[in-house]
Symmetry: C2
Subunit: 372 residues, 2 copies
């Protein structure tokens, strides 16, 4: 499902295309987060305007509400949400460990209480595949055990052992079942192992032996120092197969994404563009604009003169500041649209530069500009 | 500025055109409320999709934040907000009496404390004209004294006496000043007098003597019985000049609007479509849909099969219910867009029926359908 088009000469960056039943996705790619089958504040049309190619939704959240059976009846996530382009769904492993109450884990799976109503539920590697089958997602993720940070080596090794065991069971369930909506689905494995290189290498190798359509690097960006995040990322991408996509989960800031692209990562997701938007922080080619600052009171320039998104084409900083100061909901949307456009435009630029052989120089300049 | 095109045979309904520098407005018309220069949750593009022709903004709110000088610098409300079609601005009289703290009124004007930060301000009939000059509004309203309900006859007469005195001063200020943005502005007087026919008649006659571009009926829909609201409306429209526009302020529900159209009213504004939208109530040709109700859980029909708005073209009741149950902001917008479209479509239908001579029958059928 992944075609590698070009490898950068100066870095490990790659340009490729990820093929799914709902469209081809040029990589590197950033995936806006639509946890509950909606990227917060944005309609499918807004997402297209912002240049989004694929949206990430969440198995845990959608299983709890509205339930995978309803979504299947609606024609899967695409029919349900009106977003006709590809979806990737996270397995819910991370959310079970972070959001759910009173979770009890054993080798069979994990029992947890809903954060919404306290009801009890059980996830197994098999059931999480079954749920994602019904969601009709283009790319599903296996159930993993995501260690917190910090975690000691023994606990990280045990979590990885279980993650690998679950990955095997998930792959078997995937192979033994058919997509109920008829469209071919893909499944990615998730490398775990916290900040321990030996466990990470073992994790990656065992997953490759099982054989997935692509590989994610999970359990990073959970509080560890940045250097360790990049070290582990590099160790992992060196092992992962060149002709398959690599996805660094939950990353991140613009500089983190570009640095990880340099290390050979193809796919990213993060709530930063939408969450920061709702706080009034706009990403621009010249650094962040915190729109509530007094200096924007009578600034009639667009957020970013180099941006051609709907927000920048139509509204001034002064008006956007007014919307945020007046707590007008429109502000949240215009900021979200702009920030998603910024992230999408950044990875699209990165791709062009990789194809042109000029990625390293461009990246240096881009990072220098945004760190003004 | 108003061209009367057709009078209905069976009722007092009228079809006309209101001419402004930012466009002609077919009447009857409904004006979505954009208090702070933003119709809550909707972009200018959404408003156009919903069929809006003119937006109502509020002098009191915009005076306090961001201030009329900033808006003037931005090219008036049109340049500031990106809504290039007409604006009407309410004078702020209603808000000073309802929202502001510690207001002290005398014949000169009204001193009040901001509901935002407690700062002290003074509005006079003249200053309110000056502010609206700077806002660049197409249609400004004079400062009035809006009595609460109930109010005794003496107090209502005194409030009206002051309203008329202020209207004279406002008109003089209007005549003595020029639009700073160069585009001709219009000014409407506001009939007061609570539920007392004799005061209302006196109020209307005195305003007509002063001479305005159009006339509003204020101080209704503030708690009085519906029959009194319609009685006073009818008494007033009988006196108002046929060749000028009549605006019933703050009304209302679909049935109230259609009944007031029957009595010769041309213009309406109300927060109902947007406020109810944010509570998950959708207006439809078959009555209201309260989207959080369980029965819509697996209802894959659009909100209204007879509606061609963006929401109804693209989303099911089941998905909209999911958005509201999950507290996704997109739901607020999709509901607002639909409800504004419903109100706009209703008054546009009313206009067509008036022009066709079939308004009374159509209205009866329409009201019967929505009261299902």
């Amino acid at each position: 499902m992944f075609v590698l088009e070009k490898k950068d000469i100066n870095t490990k960056a790659r340009a490729g295309v990820l093929k799914t039943p709902h469209g081809d996705i040029p990589t590197p790619v950033f995936m806006p987060v639509g946890t509950q089958a909606s990227v917060k504040t944005l309609s499918p049309e807004d997402l297209k305007d912002a240049g989004a190619e694929i949206v990430l939704a969440n198995t845990y959240h959608l299983f709890l509400r509205p339930g995978e059976d309803l979504i299947l009846k609606a024609g899967g996530l695409h029919g349900f949400s009106g977003w006709g382009k590809p979806f990737l769904t996270d397995s819910g492993g991370y959310q079970v460990f972070r959001l759910a109450e009173l979770r009890k884990i054993n080798d069979e799976g994990v029992t947890f209480q809903s954060h919404i109503d306290g009801s009890y539920h059980f996830f197994s590697p098999e059931s999480v595949v079954d749920i994602q089958r019904k969601l009709g997602t283009d790319i599903m993720m296996v159930l993993d055990e995501c260690s917190p940070y910090p975690v000691d080596l023994t606990a990280a090794a045990n979590a990885n052992r279980r993650t690998i065991d679950w990955a095997k069971r998930a792959k078997k369930q995937f192979d033994d079942t058919e997509p109920p909506l008829g469209e071919k689905q893909a499944v990615f494995g998730i490398v775990q192992g916290s900040v321990y290189p030996e466990i990470r290498k073992e994790s990656a190798k065992r997953l490759i032996d099982i054989g997935f359509d692509g590989y994610a690097i999970g359990g990073l960006a959970v509080g560890e120092p940045k250097e360790q995040m990049f070290e582990i990322t590099e160790i992992t991408t060196e092992i992962l197969p060149e002709n398959q996509a690599r996805y660094l989960m939950g990353v991140g800031k613009p500089e983190d994404i570009l640095n990880a692209i340099s290390l050979g990562v193809d796919m990213f997701d993060c709530v930063i563009p939408t969450r920061n938007a709702r706080n009034g922080t706009f990403f621009t080619s010249q650094g962040k604009v915190v729109i509530k600052n007094n200096k924007y009171f009578d600034d009639f320039e667009p957020i970013d003169n180099n941006c051609n998104c709907y927000t920048c084409r139509n509204f001034s900083r002064a008006y956007l500041r007014h919307l945020f100061k007046s707590e007008e909901i429109l502000g949240l949307r215009l900021a979200s649209l702009h920030n998603i456009h910024f992230f999408m435009n950044m990875v699209k630029q990165a791709r062009i530069q990789i194809l042109n052989g000029s990625f390293a120089d461009w990246k240096k300049q881009f990072l220098s500009n945004i760190q003004n």
